[in-house]
């Protein structure tokens, strides 16, 4: 098991250009990050390619890690999630309106989202549960599916401004709950 301190240490060495540390960091973290990219992209070929991009970014940006205030795994997961979402949005940009309809109708809602919630750490679960089910799902979809305000408005069949209001209120409730 690699501890938080181990990963921090590896990132610090990567920042110095230590290739052995980079390989060790990849060994310790790539399965988690590949899981995340697969979850977001749901496509192995795309996920593999994005995983490459992620570690290229890690190599080039490791020296900036210490100033951002994130825990090492959060830093890596955030790079992975954002890179995967960027790719997903690029792929979606080529979608026709009919394909968008189909995607939104197909990957139906609840069961999976609920499964995600069930095993999350307690505080986060409890705070998501305080939100209306739809609102919690919208926040989850924004993070894990990279859905935009426009995507979410189409999915929940509400006007764009309503969606913004829902989501902003949900974020406020979540933040208040999480810092309680």
């Amino acid at each position: 098991m690699t501890t938080r301190a181990d990963i921090e240490n590896l990132i610090a060495r990567v920042a110095q250009g230590d290739r052995a540390a980079f390989k060790a960091l990849y060994g310790a973290t790539s399965a988690k990050l590949f899981g995340v990219t697969l979850r977001v992209l749901n496509d192995r070929a795309e996920a593999e390619e994005v995983l490459q991009e992620i570690y290229v970014k890690v190599w080039h940006n490791a020296d900036r890690y210490t100033v951002n205030g994130l825990s090492p795994m959060t830093w890596l997961i955030t790079i992975a999630r954002n890179s995967a979402v960027d790719r997903l949005r690029k792929l979606r940009r080529a979608e026709t309106p009919a394909e968008l309809e189909e995607r939104i109708a197909d990957d139906g809602a609840g069961p999976e989202a609920l499964a995600v919630a069930a095993s999350e750490r307690g505080r986060l679960v409890a705070c998501f549960e305080e939100l209306a089910a739809k609102h919690a799902e919208a926040v989850r979809r924004a993070y894990l599916e990279g859905e935009t305000y426009a995507d979410l408005a189409a999915r929940f069949d509400v006007p764009l401004n309503t969606m913004r209001t829902w989501l902003r209120r949900s974020l406020l409730s979540l933040r208040e709950c999480l810092t309680r």
Binding site: R19, K23, Y26, S30, A31, K32, F34, G35, V36, R39, D43, R44, A45, E46, E48, E49, L51, Q52, E53, Y55, V56, W59, N68, G69, L70, S71, M73, T74, I77, T78, R81, V85, K90, R93, A94, A115, V116, A118, S119, E120, R121, L124, V139, A142, Y143, L144, G146, T148, Y149, R164, T165, L167, R168, R169, L171, L172, L174, R175, L178, T179
Partner: protein, 231 residues
């Protein structure tokens, strides 16, 4: 007015929207600029990043195939031969049958110099155009010979950048048809195994580094798209 009434004016909310990637490019840039100056904003962002990362807690780790590390090493340190075009295609092609990925789309310089002559009565045409008309490419496709004639009527690559043409057939990942040459008119040869897939597909042009996408998939903005239609 309380936060409940105007939640969108709250930095805690703004930081959450930034973390989720919900802000417009302009608002995100403005938020990043503020983060540089305002430590409190960095703290708000860090809190959201930590909390949302918790949403990945139950995602099962999956060991990536060995080729991913090999490609990372090759790309960063050149410890293996430079990733060839073909190998990159096979890498990202993954699920697609290998044969289908071996696209041989070649610009024929001799034809380009003479000026390509599109068929008089082409079976398929496509207008690959940006919404604002900043890039317009007319394409004519002859499925009998697998020849794609392209004529760039408006726009071009940005300085130091290249335009790359992609075939998007159905649900499949985009397949590169090659980098558009500097000439306005050119001919591309579409590989035999792709010939039958051009009809009904979508052609797209993306902004890429000189020499084309380093990854085998579009990396820059998609500038123009157009469906291939029977003429």
């Amino acid at each position: 007015m309380s936060d409940q009434d105007q939640p969108d004016r709250d930095d805690r909310v703004l930081a959450g929207e930034y973390t989720l990637g919900l802000l417009s490019a302009e608002d995100a840039a403005a938020f990043e600029a503020r983060m540089v100056r305002e430590p409190e904003l960095r703290t708000l962002y860090a809190q959201w990043a930590e909390d949302f990362a918790g949403l990945t807690d139950d995602i099962t780790p999956q060991a990536p195939p060995a080729r991913v590390w090999q490609q990372i090493e090759a790309g960063l340190f050149g410890t293996r031969e430079r990733g060839s075009w073909l190998r990159r295609l096979t890498l990202w092609g993954g699920g697609i049958a290998a044969a289908a990925v071996l696209v041989l789309a070649v610009f024929l310089p001799d034809l380009v110099e003479r000026g390509p002559v599109p068929p008089v009565d082409p079976p398929y045409v496509a207008q690959i155009a940006a919404e604002d008309g900043s890039l317009v490419v007319q394409a004519v496709y002859d499925d009998a010979t697998g020849t794609l004639f392209v004529d760039r009527e408006a726009g071009g690559a940005a300085p130091g950048r290249a335009l790359e043409l992609w075939l998007i057939a159905g649900e499949d990942a985009p397949v590169s048809l090659g980098v558009m040459p500097q000439y306005a008119q050119a001919v591309l040869r579409v590989a035999d195994d792709l010939r039958g897939r051009v009809a009904g597909a979508v052609l797209a042009i993306s902004d890429e580094p000189e020499g084309g996408s380093p990854t085998g998939a579009p990396t820059g903005d998609v500038l123009a798209v157009g469906p291939v239609q029977e003429s």
